[in-house]
């Protein structure tokens, strides 16, 4: 039994927006794998909910004419993980979302919900941040797009305005074409867990595979929101494909992060992992891009 004041089922995106306008303070319910858990804990007890779960218009993955990949937000983790376009263009995203929880959560949980709850540990988030994803939201004023770097405004907070709805996640062709990536979820067990630290790296190598043309390094749980490690990226960009480059980038990552000690892990351990995961993810990404170390 869930303590909901009311549940409104949206029939379309415009209907969802008008329901959200009619019921300010109502929460959006998609797959429910976060919201229902919070409701059970009493955090959202007695509130109104607008369910968008039945909006099939918000499901699926497609390529636009300019090569932009458009992932609709209600696409489940399982569907993202098996989607041929995702696997062809951004294989690492398919792999990352396949590490969420367990099969049941992956079948019900959605990629949109994963970034709308604003948590730093979300398995899709660091990869989307690494790929400079663009977030498209629809609200009473129409559609707007914003880079994912502006999406996360604080722990558990995203840049959704009242009555706005996430309607797509976009990854531009120039963000993925020629890049290969790797995601490491570091958790305390091999399933049914949340990352202690997540590291998603992608690289583009020079034609002769000897130089790192570009590198993007992103972390989850290294701060209150998913973040890029710009120093690490600079340490690798334009450098030869080598152990030394990887090492320099891994160590540079320490300058970009500021994790804290909590009962879940000490700052020292997190910093150790920041370096170690960058090292391993970079190596794997370079290998996948055809480089040899």
């Amino acid at each position: 039994m869930y303590d909901m004041k009311a549940l409104y089922e949206a029939k379309s995106v415009p209907d969802a927006i008008s329901l959200l306008q009619e019921h300010p303070g109502a929460r959006i319910l998609a797959g429910g794998s976060d919201v229902l858990v919070q409701l059970r804990e009493g955090k959202l007890a007695g509130l109104e909910f607008v369910s968008i779960f039945k909006l099939d218009e918000l499901r699926g993955v497609s390529l636009e004419q300019d090569g932009t990949m458009r992932i609709l937000p209600l696409t489940s983790f399982s569907h993202v993980a098996r989607d041929p376009i995702v696997n062809r263009c951004v294989r690492v995203l398919a792999e990352a979302v396949d590490k969420v929880g367990g099969p049941q959560v992956r079948n019900i949980g959605t990629i949109g919900g994963n970034i709308c709850n604003g948590v730093t540990s979300a398995d899709s988030a660091s990869t989307l941040v690494a790929y400079d994803a663009v977030v498209e939201v629809t609200g009473p004023e129409g559609v707007r797009q914003l880079p994912i770097s502006e999406w996360y405004v604080g722990a558990g907070k995203v840049a959704l305005r009242p009555a706005e709805l996430l309607t797509a996640i976009l990854i531009k062709k120039e963000s993925y074409e020629g890049y290969a990536g790797f995601y490491i979820k570091y958790a305390m067990r091999n399933a049914m867990d949340i990352a202690t630290l997540g590291c998603s790296v992608n690289v583009k190598l020079s034609g002769d595979k000897k130089t790192v043309a570009d590198a993007r390094v992103a972390y989850g749980v290294a701060g209150p929101v998913p973040m890029r490690a710009k120093s690490a990226e600079e340490a690798a960009r334009g450098k030869p494909v080598s152990e030394e480059t990887v090492e320099a980038a891994a160590q540079a990552a320490l300058a970009d992060v500021n994790p804290r000690t909590s009962w879940r892990a000490t700052k020292e351990f997190r910093l150790h992992l920041v370096e170690e995961l960058a090292r391993r993810a970079l190596k794997e990404a370079i290998n996948r891009a055809g480089g040899e170390i």
Binding site: M1, G42, M188, R189, N190, A191, D193, W263, T266, F269
Partner: protein
């Protein structure tokens, strides 16, 4: 032959199709819902409770607080009652407590028409506390001036027992002895049975009736009677199928409160269904025990003197109390032979954490982790092979426990270790992995254990059985020993089928216990079901058989001495000829108009024996040092639990225990906030129960030595599989990395800290 065969579980089809009924399935949907208002301080006195807002919430029927309940302390431990005052369980909690002793203690109960109203009411209750200082660590709690939890127990010491075999101070004077001394820590863990504790109660026919997810219906009947101050015959407990217990449900948990609450609403049906968070924080946990072990050893590895000091964290209430650490101290004393002396001191200490109670293997996982780690530390220091050091010192064949009279009849340890070594190719790998460098290293380790079967002579051991003949020659079989998922009903049916010589499918086990109907017995714990049930089943089956043959004498006109029951037929033993089927005999007995008799048998067997169960674990790990992670590559448990009644079920039992011990060793720990005493990870996400993805193949092997004291040659297997894997994994990590981990769980946090100390990361 029904014994020794992997018969299908008698409950298999009902369980996989969802037909099997559990407590919540049985509760009438009209039940009122109970929710508990819990203390938000770790230690204090409730000064006042304001329920006015809560009572206004629609659907709230009644709120009962700690100011309303009788001042009648309850002993919750699931032990048989003792007529000896000095041996009775400690009664130290009330139905609801004004003096709250842990974060989450029971303060008030809401009874409402539905769950939402009850939950809202709990949120609307306000309590004022006089806050007391609290203490979470047992060694801190023992100090003078520490916060006191219970008036009668100075320095929070619930109990302190000691023993000394030989003269320790004299023994350690032997010249040339090497001294090894260390502290070992084990964590607070929780049982994590799938079905949270749930019970419901109502009054009817002058009785308080409780249906509960419990392992021990007859014991719960007594405790509910004591708690409510009513005659035990006015309490009826029903135990349906349960979703695991692992010892947590070997306690009266919320049955007394639920029964009491029903009496406060005119006997209406009230149901209390715990949340997972409450199950973690407010039922029972495994005692976290800190050990200080000192061993004096001759240079050749011979153990001369052993010294154990054990400090057991009891938590807020006594529950099973000192029995747990005392059992471990007893195991310490016997697992190895000390030529000079062995001295032990065990303390059980109250702290402001969840009450510790029974949990699978009752103190032995703790001591096994500590002692088997210690033995490997000695082996490493002496440059000896761990197996060789154990062979030199382990309990000798022929050893007799002076207290229980248990005897080590066979060379079980060596037989088990041989199998374990062969499976793992252990000796080869010991050498192969000896001098590794690099970030990823492999190692192999092992550990041994012994375990008692049932609880004699500490407590009563009896089992009662009833067999009732049906018209078709089949029987109903009833025992108070409970099916808790382990497969007890199936092996009971196999044993009855064996002794009566009737088909397995003709034994209908009544799985559910109802204390108004089921013969008396104490329930599922102490790895006692097969051993104890075996006695009463065999005795009762022979009694039933004698009655069947006596009746057959009338029908066949043959003397009983010439008759036997073979394969469901009455047989003339002289000719070997089947004279009539048991079905025909039953029809005669039921419907003969001249001489009708319903043939039944019922008997009690009181056991005054116990039996040593033995075994070991061998494990192989791969340690990724920079990632501070351990991958278990191979693991095998080998048990001598006597004869296997059902090999497939025995194997499954071992798998479950190994899994539990893998979690114990590698990942599980219930944490408390040192600032508030609040449990930090009381849910299945943050409490790292290991998943199937964290397990390798679990190999279970057996050595079958017929246990001479046992009705069917069996001895303990329920709990033993959960004892030795954690220590074997620890020793494998030691072998791989050279780093000794002296505290479980050996999770990445601990590995990081230790690897950093050793300069590996």
């Amino acid at each position: 032959m029904a014994v020794g065969v992997s018969e299908k579980r008698v409950d298999a089809f009902d369980k996989v199709t969802g037909r099997a009924k559990y407590t919540d399935d049985l509760a009438d949907k009209s039940a009122l819902i109970v929710k508990i208002f819990r203390s938000s301080v770790a230690h204090g006195l409730v000064k006042s409770i304001d329920t006015s807002e809560a009572e206004k919430i629609p659907g709230v029927v009644k709120i009962v607080t700690c100011f309303d309940v009788p001042d009648r302390p309850i002993p919750t431990a699931g032990h048989p009652w003792s007529l000896d005052l000095g041996h009775q369980d400690i009664a130290d909690r009330l139905l609801l407590n004004r003096h709250v002793r842990y974060y989450g203690d029971d303060v008030a109960a809401v009874i409402a028409q539905n769950e939402i109203a009850a939950t809202r009411a709990v949120r609307a209750i306000k309590a004022e506390y006089e806050e007391y200082p609290f203490v979470l660590d047992p060694l801190e709690a023992m100090k003078d001036g520490a916060p006191q939890l219970h008036e009668k127990f100075g320095n929070n010491i619930l109990a302190h027992t000691s023993y000394e075999d030989g003269n320790y101070e004299e023994a350690i004077k032997e010249p040339g002895l090497l001294r090894f001394e260390k502290w070992y820590d084990t964590p607070t863990v929780q049982h994590c049975h799938i079905e949270n504790h749930i019970c419901y109660a109502w009054e009817e026919a002058g009785k308080v009736n409780v249906v509960s997810s419990t392992q021990i219906p007859h014991i719960v009947r007594r405790v509910v009677g004591q708690a409510l101050g009513i005659e035990w015959g006015k309490v009826r407990i029903v135990k349906p199928y349960i979703g695991g217990g692992f010892g947590n449900k070997q306690d009266a948990l919320y049955e007394p409160l639920c029964a009491y609450l029903s009496t406060k609403v005119g006997g209406r049906l009230v149901k209390y269904d715990m949340t997972r968070e409450e199950t973690f924080a407010c039922t029972r946990v495994r005692h976290a025990i800190r050990y200080h072990i000192t061993t004096h050893v001759r240079p050749d590895g011979t153990f001369v003197a052993g010294r154990l000091e054990a400090f057991s964290n009891q938590g807020a209430y006594a529950s099973h109390g000192h029995g747990i650490v005392a059992k471990g101290a007893g195991a310490y004393r016997q697992l190895y032979c000390y030529r000079g002396a062995c001295k032990g001191d065990a303390y059980t200490i109250y702290t402001n954490t969840a009450a510790s109670g029974a949990m699978r293997a009752y103190g032995i996982p703790q001591i096994t982790f500590a002692l088997e780690s210690h033995v490997d530390d000695i082996a490493k220091a002496l440059g000896m092979e761990p197996v060789a050091l154990r062979r030199l010192n382990m309990m000798e064949v022929g050893y007799v426990d002076p207290f229980s009279k248990n005897e080590n009849y066979f060379d079980s340890f060596n037989q088990c270790m041989e199998k374990g070594m062969a499976y793992l190719d252990y000796e080869k790998k010991r050498k192969e992995y000896a001098n590794q460098t690099g970030p990823v290293r492999r190692g192999v380790g092992m550990a041994i254990f012994w375990y008692n079967t049932a609880v004699w002579p500490i407590s009563l051991e009896s089992s009662s059985c009833r067999m009732v003949l049906n018209q078709d020659g089949s029987i109903q079989l009833q025992l108070a020993e409970t099916e808790i998922g382990q497969g007890a009903d199936t092996v009971f049916a196999q044993m009855a089928s064996e002794t009566l010589s009737i088909p397995f499918e003709n034994v209908h086990v009544i799985s559910s216990q109802d204390t108004d109907i089921t013969p008396f017995g104490t329930g599922a714990y102490a790895s006692r079901q097969t051993y104890m049930g075996g006695f009463s089943i065999k005795q009762t089956a022979l009694l039933l058989k004698s009655r069947l043959l006596a009746y057959a004498q009338n029908v066949t006109r043959m003397p009983v001495s010439s008759l036997d029951l073979v394969d469901g037929h009455i047989v003339n033993v002289n000719s070997g000829r089947a004279l009539l089927s048991l079905k025909d005999l039953a029809l005669e007995a039921f419907y003969n108009t001249d001489r009708s008799e319903h043939i039944t048998a019922e008997s009690t067997y009181q056991a005054k024996s116990n039996a040593y169960s033995f075994g070991c674990t061998f494990a192989e790990v791969e340690v990724d040092i920079p990632l501070c992670k351990v991958k278990i590559l191979n693991i095998v448990n080998v048990h001598d639990c006597g004869m296997l009644i059902n090999p497939a079920l025995a194997e499954a039992q071992v798998h479950g225990g190994m899994s539990m011990s893998i979690g114990y060793g590698m990942s599980e720990q219930l944490l408390y906030d040192p600032k508030t005493g609040r449990p930090l990870n009381d849910n299945l996400l943050d409490y790292k129960l290991s998943t199937t993805m964290d397990h390798p193949h679990l190999e279970a092997q057996f050595v079958e030595n017929y246990e001479p004291t046992s009705a069917y040659g069996t001895k303990a297997l329920g709990e033993p599989p959960a004892t030795s894997p954690a220590a074997a994994l620890r020793n494998a990590i030691l072998h791989a990395t050279g780093v000794a981990l002296d505290a479980a769980p050996m999770n990445p946090h601990r590995l990081f800290a230790r690897f950093r100390e050793e300069g590996l990361v």
